[in-house]
Subunit: 151 residues, 2 copies
């Protein structure tokens, strides 16, 4: 069957990386989607607020590398779910600092625990050395060409 054997999809890094990423994402979805009806972007916003503390939508855009419209919609959804509140700054009324409610903190604590457990589960499939190399490579790849994506 194989007519053009020059190249196997499995050897094309972007493809393989995507397969791996999708596999894990799909698996972890169960937690934030199944338990809390959250979308991936919502989970990311919650994740960042939980890890780094309160910040503005813009800061989330930059840190999480998400487009502002996605963040805007995720924030609205999380607000509707009583996971976070927004506090406008008098110093500059364009900004609004986002902060988790106590419910938000509980949800974050729960998902954070699940994330930790899942991470360990994945790492169990490799040696500590491998995990370190993997981490290093991914960081490097993620930094590849970050332009025009964080507006």
């Amino acid at each position: 069957m194989r007519r053009h054997a020059e190249f196997d999809p499995q050897d094309f890094l972007p493809y393989l990386l995507n397969q791996a990423a999708e596999t894990l994402s799909l698996e972890f979805q169960r937690h934030y989607r199944g338990q809390y009806g959250m979308l991936r972007t919502e989970w990311r916003v919650l994740f960042h607020l939980g890890c780094y503390g309160e910040m503005t939508a813009k800061e989330i855009c930059v840190r999480a590398r998400l487009h502002k419209t996605k963040v805007s919609r995720a924030v609205a959804a999380l607000q509707a779910k009583r996971i976070l509140t927004r506090r406008e700054l008098e110093s500059d009324r364009r900004h609004a600092v986002l902060q988790l409610t106590s419910l938000g903190q509980r949800v974050f604590a729960d998902l954070s625990r699940a994330a930790h457990a899942f991470d360990s589960e994945v790492r169990a499939a490799m040696t500590p050395d491998e995990a370190e190399v993997l981490h290093r490579c991914l960081i490097r790849i993620a930094a590849f060409e970050t332009a025009q994506r964080t507006g």
Copy 2:
């Protein structure tokens, strides 16, 4: 600012993996999208047909781990673009074997070359040893829990 330092997004493998994958995907999009107006799923279908030779939509679903509706629509789009043709089997008229047209083969050759070059570019960011570990880990992760996704 950081209030909950227990966990950094950068250390959560699914998240990091996603960032890396998205970075590369977005970059490589330029080729199939910019040059040929193809969607990611279309490129994947083309990729598989080009690499492995003609096969049915179902086989593509299994190999590429894509849902049948995605493949169905991608095939329709590629057909409209004169990239592939379908040939029904008399032995079982539910099946249709998909094959690249000569245009499809030229497009595949071009994108395949671009993919190769891009892959090398990415690999240049790491040592051969690292690349090998990365490859191994990703294969392992991609195989994690393949159920209910290929229907």
